[in-house]
């Protein structure tokens, strides 16, 4: 789904919640996943003027999970190591979004190219 404005955030979070409930993810993991998603969607809106998000159910052995892919065509992140550090922000903020989101999920992958955009993929396993 496309996310271009602030009012898209709550419906998006509800969609993620529906998927998580569908695979019977526990409440704490649901909350972690949605909070991580909230951080990433906020970054997308703030630094890249929005982008697209894909929500998928994935399977590994007996465990199900949710994979979220956040793709934007914004400015990209020039120093990714720095951006992943707690407390680093170019937006005069807390700089918690990326490192915090990473802590809240099981798999976290970020690809970015300056001038082209950023794609973040996260997976939260139902029992992870």
């Amino acid at each position: 789904m496309a996310v271009v404005k602030e009012q898209d955030v709550v419906p998006f979070r509800n969609r993620v919640r529906e998927y998580a409930v569908k695979i019977k993810m526990g409440l704490v993991n649901q909350t972690k996943l949605i909070t991580a998603a909230s951080e990433l969607v906020r970054n997308m809106l703030r630094y890249a003027n929005g982008g697209k998000i894909r929500i998928e159910i994935v399977t590994k052995g007996r465990d199900n999970g949710i994979r979220l892919t956040f793709a934007d065509t914004g400015p990209g992140i020039s120093n990714i190591d720095l951006a992943m550090k707690d407390g680093y922000s170019t937006g005069k903020s807390l700089g918690l979004g990326l490192p915090g989101a990473k802590r809240l999920v099981n798999e976290f992958n970020i690809q970015t190219e300056t001038g082209k955009g950023t794609t973040v993929t996260i997976i939260k396993w139902s029992n992870g």
Partner: protein, 134 residues
């Protein structure tokens, strides 16, 4: 529609957040609350977030702002009813809720506020609203 009601109870302000806040709504609440604290001289602010499923860094920051700005205006802030899953998530996210006191529920929050306020500084006789008969 785009407003969270703020209730005045004696020298406290009570806010119950019943919807998932999007950013504009949260920012409005912050501004409204600060204005109310200033206008009414309230000594305490109680924010009930028991219906809130997600507190991300943005929302956390708003709560922190409300607390620190209220403190400047000489009012204490207590957040009540945080869901356990939300609390666990906040710790892992790494968000410090600086200066935000928490309590289990509204009653306990009220008691905490009462205990934080030095005696004689609030208008204890006023209970329901701001009508004062002289």
């Amino acid at each position: 529609m785009d407003k969270i009601p703020i209730l005045k109870m004696g020298s406290f302000l009570l806010v119950t957040i019943q919807v998932d806040l999007y950013d504009r709504l949260a920012l409005n609440l912050e501004a409204d609350l600060i204005r109310m604290v200033d206008k009414t001289g309230a000594k305490g602010v109680l924010i009930d977030i028991s219906a809130v499923n997600i507190v991300d860094s943005f929302m956390g920051r708003i709560l922190g702002n409300i607390a620190s700005m209220s403190r400047i205006l000489d009012a204490q802030t207590v957040v009540v009813g945080m869901q356990p899953a939300v609390a666990i998530t906040l710790v892992e996210l790494g968000l410090p809720l600086n200066g935000v006191r928490t309590a289990l529920n509204v009653e306990k929050g009220m008691a905490l506020l009462q205990s934080m306020i030095p005696p004689g500084s609030g208008d204890e006789e006023i209970t329901e609203d701001d009508h004062i008969s002289v």
